[in-house]
């Protein structure tokens, strides 16, 4: 089931974590820059125009009680619109940039559907159950191969949960009656770097009851061959499949 051509392409994939890191950095850098400029400019002017007890300047026109606000405009409003225009340009270009990345994240890397593995994730109070294409199920720990696009279909059997792994930068609402999709992939380099078996913390990101805090899981990534060995042992042997595959998105079994 593993096409070597797709494996080669694997090195060109950008994992969601990588994509996130880039866009987060761009936003953080720009946000810090804009914030610093605006705050510094404001603080400087507040200091500069403090009331030092001296005589008011000639053009200072003190308001009086009971006046109606008079019409304003002129050079001041020009400055206002200039700043407004600049901020609009910054914000809109950020969004256009972010939108391009959104399209990639929504679609995921193009693998022509070959070699993808689709796993059903079902949240329950308080844990996660995973169902593999062959019908095998595990709870708590999802075991997947490296260098492969993993598609997940996320739902819930009781209340609203949220399946997420901060390290992989993936997250999906698990809503009863709905099926949400997401994808991720982990490179074999990453697996090797973690000593032949990469693990990622899974947490629930939506309040789901008294055990919400402790609702943890794990994604374990094995090298291709090890995973296949493991997967073949499970082949069809499981009868614990509790999800009606057709009901949650017609997964090829």
């Amino acid at each position: 089931m593993i096409d070597p051509i797709i494996l080669q392409q694997g090195s060109d994939w950008r994992a969601q974590a990588e994509v996130f890191d880039e866009i987060f950095f761009v936003f953080l850098a720009l946000g810090t820059l804009v914030g610093t400029i605006v705050v510094a400019y404001t603080l400087w002017n507040v200091y500069k125009y403090r009331d030092d007890g001296g005589e008011p300047k000639a053009d200072f026109d003190a308001p009086v009680v009971g006046e109606l606000p008079t019409g304003q405009g002129g050079p001041k409003a020009k400055k206002l619109f200039l700043s407004f225009g600049l901020s609009a340009i910054v914000v809109i270009s950020l969004v256009v940039y972010a939108y391009g990345i959104l399209l990639y994240v929504e679609e995921g890397p193009d693998t022509s559907g070959e070699g993808d593995i689709e796993i059903l994730v079902e949240g329950y109070q308080f844990g996660w159950e995973y169902e593999y294409p062959n019908g095998h199920t595990t709870t708590g720990e999802m075991i997947v191969p490296a260098d492969q696009r993993i598609d997940i279909a996320v739902t819930s059997r009781d209340v609203w949960h949220n399946f997420g792994s901060s390290e992989l930068r993936i997250k999906s609402d698990a809503i009863p009656g709905e099926t949400n999709t997401n994808w991720f992939s982990v490179s074999s380099e990453e697996v090797e770097a973690q000593g032949g078996e990469a693990t990622f913390r899974v947490e629930c990101f939506e309040l789901c009851g008294s055990g919400h805090s402790a609702m943890k899981g794990q994604i374990t990534v094995l090298p291709q061959d090890e995973w296949e060995e493991w997967y073949e042992d499970t082949g069809g042997s499981s009868s614990s499949a509790s999800i009606d595959a057709a009901a949650v998105g017609g997964v090829p079994a």
Binding site: F24, G31, F60, L102, Q125, D158, D173, F205
Partner: protein, 832 residues
């Protein structure tokens, strides 16, 4: 009508309808809830000290998180802002009081007693533990079974009812009672902030009321909306956030209004680009209803809608940019005075800038995917909402001299600000640093422990800083320096033109801006007639805000004196509280055993306390309502007022229109829920549950009754008592016919076809729920209509309404509305 007792008497505070008294009550009550919510926050922070050691159980922690959110958002932030709104909006627009003083008192007491209900819910087996967002289906009894959970939901519903009354009141006041010469663009910025707030509240809180009623129905009556897998969870998300996003601005705009006011007063400069700031505020208010799905980016809504919501979300940040720049440029070339109020307002701006920038991050969907459900969100909304509230504390210092006549202690005030500002950033900036922690989780990744510990230390300092403020206010109230009428050099608005504290009826004479600045005009009152506008000689101009209350007020109207006291708002709210308290335990103490027929159906009561409260509350509620109607309470109309854009609409009629607008949203939400769920279930898979004939007959019955109400109005207009009685009587009879057919229909469904509110022998249970709940809400409106019509009938029999047929007309407006709603219900539930 009773006389208003002195401020030293407890009775005064129970009966007062004066806007300034009620403003004080709101402020003090809101500060109490700040402490309540603050203690819960400290419990949360203690729990977060060490991810391996807990002081609270998981459930107790969830309760603390939920109640903290609910209390701070609903029972602290908004009411704190509305304390100032109550006190100062009438003063700023030159009105004697709000348009409906008793309704204002009702809003306050509803607010207070709803808070009491929420407090009680902790002792009813634990309060709600589903988070303040109350996501479905965690919010239904299957997952949160305690009576207290229902109590908390009903408390919120009661709060919402009070809010709706308050909204109608403020909208009517600002659009109806502005002093002569004060155009809508001339209003002070704080009043502008409140006006935008109440317009948003009118629609947003109606959606919350609807979703709260549906949830209450799920919890008390056993309907199955939010457990339905046909979109039940998403339905909650949509309805809640349709309210929830405008709510962010609803709590922020009063604070923004204070900032705009204080920046001007303490820089001696007028607002830069004032017109554009007002336009921005209006734009934000409209846009706030078009962004709600950005709270649901990770649900199953499709990419096109997400993209649209991203665009509107980023779009809404632009008018905010303009407002922020306007605030900054207003300071330039000013003479900035670093008083305590200014420090708080300025601090609020800095915090809001940080909150705003981090909000732009959340608007980018890819980033939101990762921030969703983390402390990034928690930090962001605290910077925005609590950051905004920072300006409200500035407002408290700013107006303290006006309300009490005493000056606060400046040194203590500045000390409060410094400690507040530093510890605020300790608490919430540390959340940005540890943002990967999931929300509402205490067993978090230990690598973030340092950040959470800094937050916990900051939280205790932050809590402590408020005691400096309380001490300052208490000390200054008792022994502060007299403040004078206008302690600020550059204040502009009218509240500074009267004494501190202002007299009961606010003005020495009628305030007017007709000449371009505030003047107090003495009107000529002919014997027994309405006031006549004074000519130039009668003008009594102020000398720059130094007029005093020792003028003897010559009231410009008839010899009838305006009323300021009524006990019925208090009684009505208390009884509503009783009723809802009873309702919270209804499903646990009362069981219906449905037999083959109505006769064989029995009721089992396991605990009589709750049903007794329901009955007592309901009877008391109706009795207080009748007493309210009979009370001779006089709220004088503003004779010469600016009313754009509602010129020529009478006060009560305007209020009625506002109320009906909010009711349109309530029914709109119920009907949208019906359509949304049916769409998710597969539109064509549902057949109408009922036969169409009874529905058709009822349609004709209701339309005919609309006609008879018009006849009643015509008869009253022609001074025909008999005609009035006959037409009202016919309306009542037709209503009873409608209700009779409705009862037959429900009886038929339950006993002949086995269709109950939570089960359905002929299809999806949710279809039965929607049918009963939607037609039930309409039926409830008909019942209320019958009650009002009966009241009118009795009063008409006693000879009323022939001189003044307006009550009949306003009832007619309501009744036509109820009929129009039916026109939408009929096809949806009986035809298709």
């Amino acid at each position: 009508m009773s006389e208003l007792p002195p401020t030293t008497s407890v009775k005064r505070w129970l009966v007062t309808t004066n806007h300034k008294d009620i403003g004080i009550l709101y402020t003090i009550t809101a500060l109490f809830f700040l402490l309540f919510g603050g203690v819960l926050a400290l419990l949360i922070r203690v729990q977060l000290w060490d991810p391996a050691n807990q002081v609270l159980s998981g459930l107790a922690y969830n309760e603390a998180v939920t109640a903290h959110g609910l209390i701070m958002v609903f029972w602290f932030l908004s009411p704190f802002g509305f304390g100032f709104a109550n006190y100062f909006v009438p003063l700023q627009i030159g009105a004697d009081d709000l348009a409906f003083p008793r309704l204002n008192a009702l809003s306050y007491w509803m607010y207070l007693f709803s808070g009491v209900l929420l407090g009680i819910s902790f002792f009813q087996g634990g309060t709600l533990s589903a988070g303040w967002t109350m996501y479905a289906p965690l919010n239904i009894p299957m997952y949160t079974p305690s009576i207290g959970s229902t109590g908390a939901v009903l408390a919120l519903a009661m709060f919402t009812i009070g809010i709706t009354a308050s909204t109608v009141n403020f909208l009517t006041s600002i659009h109806h009672s502005r002093a002569e010469g004060m155009g809508i663009m001339d209003m002070p910025m704080f009043t502008w902030g409140i006006l935008a707030t109440v317009w948003m509240m009118l629609f947003a809180f109606a959606a919350l009321l609807a979703v709260g009623l549906i949830l209450a129905s799920d919890r008390v009556l056993g309907s199955v909306y939010f457990s339905a897998t046909e979109g039940g969870s998403l339905l909650w998300g949509h309805l809640f956030w349709f309210f929830g996003h405008p709510e962010v601005y609803i709590v922020f705009f009063p604070a923004l209004g204070v900032m705009l006011e204080l920046f001007q007063t303490f820089s001696g400069r007028r607002l830069v680009g004032r017109k554009w700031v007002i336009i921005s505020i209006c734009l934000i208010s409209v846009q706030s209803f078009l962004v709600w799905m950005h709270h649901m980016f990770l649900t199953t809504i499709n990419l096109e809608i997400k993209t649209l919501m991203m665009a509107t979300t980023i779009g809404i940040s632009l008018p905010f940019d303009l407002v922020v720049f306007s605030l900054i440029y207003t300071l330039i070339k000013g003479r900035i005075q670093f008083t305590t109020p200014f420090l708080f307002a300025f601090g609020a701006l800095l915090l809001f800038i940080l909150g705003g920038i981090t909000g732009v991050f959340l608007g980018a969907i890819v980033l939101d995917y990762e921030f969703r459900g983390t402390y990034w969100v928690v930090a962001h909304f605290h910077y925005v909402m609590f950051g905004g509230a920072t300006a409200l504390f500035g407002g408290a210092y700013y107006w303290f001299p006006k309300v009490t006549g005493k000056m606060y202690d400046e040194l203590l005030g500045k000390l409060h600000f410094v400690i507040f500002f530093v510890s605020f950033n300790m608490v919430y900036f540390s959340m940005f640093l540890g943002w990967e922690t999931p929300r509402r989780v205490f067993e978090y990744n230990p690598q973030f422990q340092t950040f959470h510990q800094i937050g916990t230390i900051g939280a205790f300092i932050l809590g402590f800083s408020f005691f400096i403020m309380f001490y300052n206010f208490a000390k200054s109230y008792v022994a502060g320096e007299p403040a004078g009428d206008n302690p600020w050099d550059y204040s502009r608005t009218a509240e500074w033109a009267v004494s501190s504290p202002p007299p009961l009826e606010n003005w020495p004479n009628r305030p007017s801006y007709a000449s371009g600045k505030l003047e107090f005009v003495k009107d000529y009152v002919p014997d027994g007639g309405p006031a006549v506008k004074a000519d130039g000689d009668g003008n009594a101009a102020t000398d720059g805000g130094n007029s005093h209350s020792d003028h003897i007020k010559e009231y410009p109207y008839w010899d009838k004196h305006p009323s300021h006291a009524s006990i019925w708002p208090f009684a009505l709210s208390l009884m509503t509280g009783f009723f809802l308290f009873g309702l919270s335990g209804f499903s646990d103490s009362v069981t219906f055993i449905v037999g083959e027929t109505l006769a064989s159906t029995s009721v089992e009561i396991s605990n009589a306390v709750y049903p007794v409260f329901i009955v007592v509350g309901l009877v008391g509620l109706i009795a207080s309502g009748v007493k309210w109607g009979l009370e001779d309470f006089y709220a004088p109309p503003s004779e010469f007022a600016e009313r754009w854009p509602f010129n020529g609409v009478e006060k009560v009629k305007l209020g009625m229109w506002f109320f009906l607008a909010s009711d349109v949203i309530v029914f709109g939400a119920f009907l949208s829920a019906a359509i949304f769920v049916r769409y998710n279930a597969g539109w064509m898979t549902w057949e109408p549950l009922t036969e169409s004939l009874p529905g058709l007959i009822n349609t004709f019955v209701l339309i005919t009754s609309s006609f008879t109400v018009i006849l009643a109005l015509v008869a009253a207009h022609r001074n025909s008592r008999q005609g009035l009685l006959a037409s009202l009587g016919a309306t009542i009879l037709l209503s009873f016919t409608f209700l009779g057919i409705k009862m037959w229909e429900w009886h038929h469904e339950v006993f002949d076809r086995g269709v109950m509110i939570g089960s359905n022998a002929h299809g999806d249970p949710i279809q039965a729920s929607i049918y009963y709940v939607t037609t039930g809400l309409h039926g409830l409106h008909v019942v209320i209509g019958v009650l009002i019509a009966s009241y009118l009938f009795v009063r008409a029999y006693q000879g009323h309404y022939l001189d003044d047929e307006r009550p009949v007309e306003y009832f007619g407006l309501y009744w036509h509305f109820v009929d129009i709603v039916w026109v939408f219900i009929f096809p949806l539930f009986y035809l298709f």
